[in-house]
């Protein structure tokens, strides 16, 4: 029972990571560059929701849309500054540029938003859905999901399905996939590569923004320095899953969430070593399968 509960916790947390990972995988797949600004974009999404709630009251869905839009807008700026110029240049240049950008956004956020931690409104007042109960040796154990956890998982699933449909069934989606496979070939068949890249980047960032809001709601706290850790988790999930492989990234995210939670559950003082579990898993995964655990063969990494 305990194990199952930790497993459920892990899946819930993992699904937030998965959402971030999907966004990151989109950006990497379409723009083709690694970025370190993703954490800050997640942070901007969560802060936009904070201000939205302050201004317009507690509407969850609208706040998610607001977060998506804000993150996408920030994504446009990041794209123009860090990616567009360096699309064909050696990777490390855009990487350093994104490191600089991330520092810029983070410090501006500290100045503008203030450096104290802020809370998002509490939804669903701690109501839980109890899946199973049992009393063992006088302990009352239960397997439960809080409503918030359910909302998080459902949102992620919905968004993932929506993205999949978008990419596979619409013309724009096909264009995006074309660009992610081969930029030059896509240009040859008449795809507007420049705009499509921008679009792909913005959608990826939007996902990050939504993930940021979910993070803020789940942990009930946001602070301008939250980007670093979030970005690292997103990045690790994507690498485990195989860089431009979207379903792989999602699986990578969930597996990291689960591994972390199980690690904390079973290893003494586990909480301190949380990140170590994720990284050790990552390293082992890459040693076994250098292109990423779930990567399809022949994918341009």
């Amino acid at each position: 029972m305990y194990v199952l509960q930790q497993l459920l916790n892990g899946i819930c947390q993992g699904s937030i990571y998965a959402l971030m990972a999907i966004g990151y995988a989109m950006i990497y797949g379409i723009v083709g560059l690694v970025t370190f600004t993703y954490g800050e974009i997640i942070m901007m999404g969560s802060f936009s929701a904070f201000y939205y709630f302050m201004a317009f009251g507690d509407n969850l869905v609208l706040s998610l849309i607001c977060g998506f839009a804000t993150a996408a807008l920030v994504g446009i700026v990041v794209h123009k500054v860090c990616y567009q110029r360096f699309l064909d240049a050696p990777r490390h240049i855009s990487l350093i540029c994104t490191i600089g950008m991330s520092m810029l956004i983070k410090n501006l956020a500290i100045i503008v938003f203030g450096s104290t931690m802020k809370g998002l409104p509490i939804f669903f007042e701690g109501k839980t859905l109890v899946l199973a109960e049992k009393t063992v040796e006088g302990f009352h154990q239960q397997l439960s999901l809080t409503y918030l956890q359910i909302v998080v998982i459902v949102t992620v699933i919905v968004l993932a399905i929506a993205l999949s449909l978008f990419l596979n069934k619409t013309r724009t989606g096909v264009r995006l996939r074309a660009v992610s496979q081969d930029r030059k070939a896509a240009a040859l068949v008449g795809v507007n590569v420049k705009n499509t890249t921008l679009l792909g980047n913005c959608i990826g960032c939007g996902f990050g923004g939504v993930a940021g809001i979910l993070l803020g709601l789940y942990y009930n706290s946001i602070i301008p320095t939250m980007g670093g850790a979030a970005g690292m988790k997103a990045f690790s999930s994507v690498v485990i899953g195989g860089l431009s492989n979207i379903p792989g990234a999602a699986l990578g995210g969930i597996s990291i969430g689960v591994i972390e939670n199980l690690g904390i559950a079973f290893i003494p003082n586990g909480s301190g070593y949380r990140d170590v579990f994720a990284f050790v898993f990552l390293i082992i995964a890459l040693v076994i399968k250098p292109e990423g655990l779930f990567a399809k063969r022949g994918n341009n990494a």
Binding site: R85, H92, M232
Partner: protein, 346 residues
Amino acid sequence: MMEKIKAFLKKYQLIVLIVVGILFVVAPLIINGTVKKSNYVIDIMVRILFYIIFASSLNVINGYSGQFNIGHAGFMLIGSYTGALLATKLGMGGPWYWLAIPIAGLVTALAGLLVALPTLKLRGIYLAIVTLGFSEIIRIVAMNWTAVTNGPLGVKNIPKVWLFGISKTSSPLVMYYIVFAFVILCLYTTYKVINSRVGRAWMSIREDSAASMSLGVEVGKYKAINFMYGAFWAGIGGALMAVYYRFISADMFIVDEGFNVLAMVILGGQGTLVGPIIGAVMVNMITEFFRFADEFRLVFYAILIIMMMWMRPQGLAGASNSVLAGKQIKKNDKKKSKHAAKKERV
């Protein structure tokens, strides 16, 4: 114009080197007597020297063999802690510390080997995230392994290192010369190694790993040696840091620190000996310069980094003719684009 400066420098290379060397040696003595805040200025210079060692060692890994290491903070940590623990727990402080320093270097080199082994087949961003992972794992272990590293309490009261029986060596001036000696050693050995077979193997791996493999270069072996070499000097730098600051703790080696060193390497220029020196000097001076901006300090620093990438991505002293420089970045230099066009036609 940069090219003209470079041509000039190349011609009078030896003289320039000697002049700069003398400057570095003499400057602190002059500053010590005259300038009002001398200890502060010399402290900044010592810090620059530390970063020269770190940036150089990272440059060997990133710039010369083209591998992508962003977890240098982990190596720095191992060097520092090894030195500090040898000094405090095993009594290797004071005059024995001179032995502890190379031991720290070797231990870190071993760590470098451990990092290199699973990653020999990884390239690019995969390698980067693994190095980052190692750096974080090392830091978290250091923070939690209370029995050995004192956990979050850090290692305190690290004894000063004795120089010929003089024990007043924590003064910035004396430490400056001690660290300076190591910097010279580091740069000299690096210079020798770069120009030897090993160095050439590294550069061939950087330019085209498949081609070099086909020519008989054992890529795996040289990549591992490369990591070990870079890690070794990072360890030496760390051990020196331990006796300068005399207190270390795991939070001095967070990921941001690794990024800091990476920024110095890239801004100064990868793939050249002098690049990391320029990078270290530049970054440290600029962060001090921007102190007046109060909370905007890091904002300006970030803007500067971005501007640098736009204007001169191979860094101030980078190897412009290597694969590391952006050949296809939009230039307003007609010569280069003509040259590039010629190459593509081949």
